[in-house]
């Protein structure tokens, strides 16, 4: 680490990969020195080579260089070589961004050189504004993992955390551990042979948990309040009596499971109409009761012998009428097969029919399906239209899809395979006045400004929106696991809980070092907010996609670093620009915008500012370069953490400074949004709609600011978009604002 105080900047210009042949690197060096005011300026034939890297290291060590600007390849390339942990570094993208995206030959020489010179100017301007992130480790070091819910998922999460050496606390609202799994006679097999129902293993798991030295259990308890941040959560655990105990924890796993769909909502299928029509949970109860007495399962209506059982799959599920659950609960096919086996194993003479539309037994479940057939369970592809129950028997009316007829079967017992309804608490995205009549009870009771519970994705499920990142929640350090996240069976729930335990542990470790969590994992920068100047407009607190910002008693924004994901949405939102990161701020970008050499309006050299999402649009442009997809030399590209971090001041500065247009390339938004910070690109779109008025006031055409959705795969499309936009700007003509800056 260099001595505090004195800043010494250095610029390094690479001549490798054809840069030396294509460009006048001397001139670039001159620019860095004269305009960039770099104290040290060096050129090198092969900068990423050991000798080049050593040269830089020596300067840092011996010349007390504190800030490094590298004009070479893209910031995405050669990261192992250009890896100087102890100084701020800016990288001017001369290879992918200039020589690879510009045509060779004299004709293009001048504008290509302009481009390279500007990127050097921008790099120098940026690095001077950068500080080395110090990181903000949370003071209090709570490393305990809180698990809400003591069912299969919760028990597993707690045990796995404890086995990794961490302390765990379980808060269970029931009087006993085990959850739904404890209500089961047996479970479907989860390893070979996939032939018979197996013991649930709940008792064993409960024993392990209760006897574990590192696990503490609170029964009949709920969370009255949850406040703080990863590494520093404080939860108030309330018992029935109302007494509360405060617990300090580092991370939270919400494993609150599900409630079975109310069969009374399925009267047409006999649900709630007749004792001989039960749901899967109801059947487990009957089987357990019978087993306790050592007798065969009895018919609820009269205790008579059960000779035939019909299982109706997807009861109140996969429903597109809007009346019932739209999704499939995943486990029900295997569960019905398992339950049919209860009967077949006890007495093969009992008829068991599973009525299904699509039998869903993925993976090794296929073996279990076969085993069911071997045991004589009949599988009929059909859909029940109604169940008429009278006396002691039920008549199931159904459409037989194979035999193509409407028909019926008699049964002593009808089992409705209803779905899982997640226990996810309050849907914070619904405004207070639109909340359902029967207000759901909050699970976490978060004191977060943005609401009491985890945001829900869909249908009450607190699942991640990201396929590659199933544990993404919008509340750092709080992870959902098990059926509350997504419908699932026990086998998947235990895997899920184990994964969630890892994420919780990781959150604790991150907080301890002041490191960001996914997707900017490891980032030590965090928002620095001098409150003087803050107008308490609250935009940052409202717009933070992760609910990281609360309000203090004086109604100033209260930042919780370990909840922050470093996207900069708050920075983009702040009208008075008091929010900044050490290495990414209104200034680091603003100064780049101001740094370029702006040609006059007669030069026929328009300048277009491109603000590109660093995760998708920027890599797309890099790869365009790698494939030599040419785009206009009039653009200057600045990568941003997220379009959500784009502050309108950059736009107005650019336009005032004579830029002819501003192009924003961000991720897809809407239902299938791609933005890794959830709302960033959407917010940007919203904010820019406001910019139009500003443009009009400045007497500028609204086309001068445009935003586009660009995917990382738009390797050919992105350059095309740029060229089309540049053409449009040339049509409109040069900005009248030039020369006034």
């Amino acid at each position: 680490m260099s001595a505090v105080g004195e800043m010494k900047t250095a610029a390094y210009i690479c001549r490798g990969c054809g840069i030396g042949e294509r460009l006048n690197t001397k001139q670039m060096a001159m620019v860095a020195q004269k305009e960039g005011k770099m104290k040290v300026v060096r050129e090198h034939d092969f900068l990423c080579d050991a000798s080049g890297v050593q040269m830089i290291r020596d300067d840092i060590a011996n010349e007390a260089v504190t800030h490094v600007m590298i004009a070479a390849c893209s910031r995405r390339a050669k990261t192992e070589a250009f890896n100087f942990q102890d100084v701020p570094m800016a990288r001017a993208n001369i290879r992918e961004g200039v020589i690879w995206s510009q045509p060779e030959g004299a004709a293009a020489q001048e504008v290509t050189q302009d481009m390279a010179d500007d990127y050097v100017r921008m790099g120098c301007a940026e690095v001077k504004k950068m500080k080395l992130p110090a990181g903000a480790p949370v003071a209090s070091q709570n490393r305990r993992v809180l698990v809400v819910g003591g069912g299969m998922s919760g028990l597993t999460a707690a045990l796995e955390s404890a086995e990794a050496g961490f302390e765990a606390v379980i808060v269970e609202k029931q009087g006993a551990l085990g959850g739904w799994a404890a209500q089961l006679w047996k479970r479907a097999p989860f390893r070979s042979p996939y032939t018979d129902p197996v013991d649930t293993g709940v008792a064993e798991l409960v024993a392990k948990v209760t006897n574990h030295p590192r696990i503490e259990v609170h029964l009949n308890a709920t969370l009255a309040q949850t406040s703080g941040a990863p590494g520093a959560f404080t939860v108030q655990v309330a018992t029935e009596s109302g007494a509360t105990t405060a617990l300090e924890v580092g991370a939270i796993i919400q494993a609150t499971g599900f409630t079975t769909y109310d069969i009374a909502k399925l009267p047409e299928l006999g649900g709630g109409q007749h004792p001989n029509v039960v749901d899967q949970a109801g059947l487990e109860a009957l089987v357990i009761a019978a087993a306790r007495q050592g007798v065969p399962v009895k018919r609820p209506s009269d205790g008579g012998e059960v000779r035939s059982v019909v299982f109706l799959q997807c009861a109140g599920q996969r429903d597109d009428s809007g009346k019932h659950l739209p999704y499939c609960s995943g486990h029900c096919c295997n569960t019905s097969i398992k339950q049919a086996m209860y009967f077949k194993d006890a007495n093969p003479a009992i008829d068991t029919v599973v009525l299904y539309t699509d039998l869903r037994t993925p993976g090794m479940g296929e073996d279990f399906y076969r085993s069911g057939q071997t045991k004589g369970v009949t599988f009929t592809k059909g859909l029940a239209s109604g169940v008429a129950a009278a006396g002691n028997s039920c008549t199931v009316q159904f459409r037989d899809f194979i035999l193509d007829e409407d028909t019926s079967i008699e049964a002593d017992l009808v089992v409705l395979a209803t779905g899982q309804v997640p226990n996810s608490g309050v849907n914070i995205d619904i405004p207070e006045d639109q909340q359902p009549a029967v207000k759901p009870i909050s699970i976490l009771n978060l004191t977060y400004r943005q609401g009491k519970d985890l945001p829900q994705l869909k249908d009450g499920l607190t699942d991640s929106h990201f396929i590659c990142f199933p544990y993404e929640t919008r509340r750092t350090g709080i992870y959902a696991a098990g059926p509350v996240r997504r419908p699932m069976d026990i086998a998947q729930a235990t895997e899920d809980a184990t994964g969630a335990a890892l994420k919780a542990i990781q959150a604790v470790e991150n907080a301890a070092l002041g490191r960001a969590a996914h997707p900017r994992s490891g980032d030590l920068s965090y928002p620095i907010v001098p409150l003087e100047g803050c107008t308490q407009c609250k935009r940052c607190t409202v717009e933070c996609p992760f609910g990281a910002i609360d309000e203090d008693e004086k109604r100033f924004p209260l930042f919780n670093e370990s909840r922050c994901r470093r996207c900069g949405t708050c920075m983009g939102a702040c009208p008075v620009r008091v929010i900044s990161f050490e290495n990414y701020s209104p200034d680091t970008v603003g100064s780049q915008i101001k740094a370029i050499d702006m040609p006059d309006e007669f030069s026929e050299k328009p300048r277009i500012l491109v603000l590109a999402c660093e995760n998708d649009a920027y890599p797309a442009l890099d790869m365009a370069g790698m494939q030599r997809n040419v785009y206009s030399a009039f653009v200057r590209v600045i990568p941003v953490r997220c379009l959500g971090s784009v502050n309108t001041v950059w736009i107005t500065d650019a336009l005032n400074g004579g830029w002819d247009g501003v192009m924003m390339l961000g991720c897809k938004h809407g239902d299938d949004y791609q933005c890794h910070f959830v709302k960033g690109s959407e917010l940007a779109g919203y904010r820019m709609s406001k910019v139009d008025d500003t443009l009009k006031q400045m007497g500028l055409e609204t086309e001068r600011v445009a935003s586009y959705e660009v995917a990382i795969t738009d390797i050919a499309r992105a350059p095309q978009l740029i060229n089309e936009y540049v053409a449009k700007i040339q049509e409109i003509g040069m900005s009248p604002m030039k020369g006034f800056a």
Binding site: G165, R191, G363, I402, I467, F469, E495, I712, T713
Partner: protein, 429 residues
């Protein structure tokens, strides 16, 4: 990047696909030392070869970019590419892994400038497009390849082409004398994330993959639909290169079948549903997709996507396992013979292109690993009896990407538990 010294507290991750990457990164971001071993020259695995994911139809390389950024910024992970685990000996907390590292013939000095590829003329079948097209024998696997370093194919070493490549490299990064290396590592736990391979479609004789040009596999079709794939995103009939607009998807091609794979491969239904939307993307109302299926297994939330496709007028569903395919030798057109079992309707349906939704076979074979690892009847790694070797992702079962990552995250914790205990033991000593 300072390379961690392998110890009993190091986690070895075998396989650099999305599951292996996940185990490695999740563990490393918990502060653990990880060695990530990949047999190919690049990380990313099979997901990097997918055009889009179901159900969001987003692009897999987007997640790959994030994971690679996590990797570049993390000093706890050491990556070894073109490296295969030959054997593992020892016990939980104290394993010795023997690795074979094949020569890349390109050193770390490579700047990926591409001059070598320009210089050589020899071409080889492109494995990243399932051999549907050719690529230069000096190549960067794909635009997202990491390490971003070229490979010189052994086939041109010792040929004039090899020399041309060497001469073309301004930074002298090409070393044609590079030899295969065998190295040994001491590690505490192992995550086996070697993924899956598509079932050999030629074995499903009635569908004539080995006889009819216009019968392709789902993984090949995926490449075909990718704008960066062998056909530039055009859906063409291999027989004559004409556009294929009437496309059949045959489910359970190899799966749920005692003659082939006994298990259900889980992903195929969703993959075909997704691919019908590629057809729509390419032809709008002009395209026609027909899915021949036994059961549509759109598990849990995926039901939404199934519903969406059901409402698409360009997509038809036929509940039938196609009996056989016949080819018109003149046109290359295909006739599917079978019976729609919903009410017993025979069909002789003509199609331009048939996509076999091929099943998932675990690629865990090859290496010599301790007996403590238990595999199920299909060869997926079920677990480890008291050991420290764990299956991750598709090596552990037929999983989609989302579940693979979920499972891999769990596996990371299991590995951490092992090395933490090893650490505790060492402290005690």
């Amino acid at each position: 990047m300072t390379a961690p010294i392998p110890t009993s507290q190091t986690i070895l991750v075998v396989g650099g696909g999305i599951s292996g990457l996940t185990v490695a990164l999740e563990a490393a971001e918990c502060g653990k030392q990880v060695i990530l071993v990949e047999k190919l020259p690049t990380l990313g695995g099979r997901t990097a070869l997918l055009y889009r994911y179901f159900p969001k139809l987003c692009h897999p390389v987007c997640g790959l970019e994030i994971n690679l950024r996590r990797l570049k910024g993390n000093r706890n992970v050491r990556v070894l590419t073109m490296a295969e685990v030959v054997s593992i000996t020892g016990t939980r907390g104290d394993y010795t892994a023997t690795l074979r590292i094949s020569p890349r013939h390109v050193t770390a000095q490579c700047t990926a400038c591409g001059d070598c590829a320009k210089a050589v003329s020899a071409e080889i079948p492109n494995p990243y497009n399932y051999g549907l097209n050719q690529m230069k024998a000096a190549y960067l696997p794909h635009a997202m390849a990491y390490p971003q370093r070229y490979v010189v194919d052994p086939s041109i070493v010792g040929t004039p082409d090899g020399e041309k490549a060497r001469a073309a490299c301004k930074v002298g990064a090409i070393d044609l004398d590079m030899k295969e290396e065998i190295i040994e590592l001491k590690v505490g736990a192992v995550a086996w994330a070697t993924g899956w391979q598509p079932y050999d479609a030629a074995k499903i004789q009635p569908y004539g993959y080995d006889r009819f040009a216009n019968v392709v596999t789902s993984v090949e079709f995926e490449r075909m639909c990718d704008p960066h794939g062998p056909t530039g995103g055009k859906i063409l009939r291999p027989f004559d290169g004409e556009p294929a607009t009437n496309i059949a998807f045959i489910q359970c091609a190899g799966s749920r079948d005692e003659n082939h794979l006994r298990h259900c491969s889980r992903i195929c239904c969703m993959a075909s549903l997704k691919q019908t939307q590629y057809v729509r993307e390419a032809y709008g109302e002009g395209g026609k997709s027909t899915i021949y299926y036994i059961d549509i297994r759109a598990i849990d939330r995926f039901e939404d996507f199934y519903r969406k496709v059901l409402q698409d007028p360009t997509v038809r569903f036929v509940k039938s396992k196609v009996a056989r395919i016949a080819q018109d030798d003149k046109t290359g057109g295909l006739i599917l013979h079978g019976v729609d079992t919903e009410g017993y309707h025979r069909y002789e349906a003509p199609h331009d292109l048939v996509v076999l939704a091929v099943g998932m076979e675990p690629s865990v074979k090859g290496a010599d690993i301790p007996a403590e690892v238990i595999a199920d009847s299909s060869g997926f790694l079920e677990g480890s009896s008291g050991g420290g070797i764990f299956g991750a992702g598709c090596a552990s079962g037929a999983l989609d990407v989302n579940r693979s990552v979920q499972q891999a995250t769990a596996t990371a914790l299991r590995a951490i538990q092992v090395v933490n205990k090893a650490a505790a033991a060492e402290v005690a000593r």
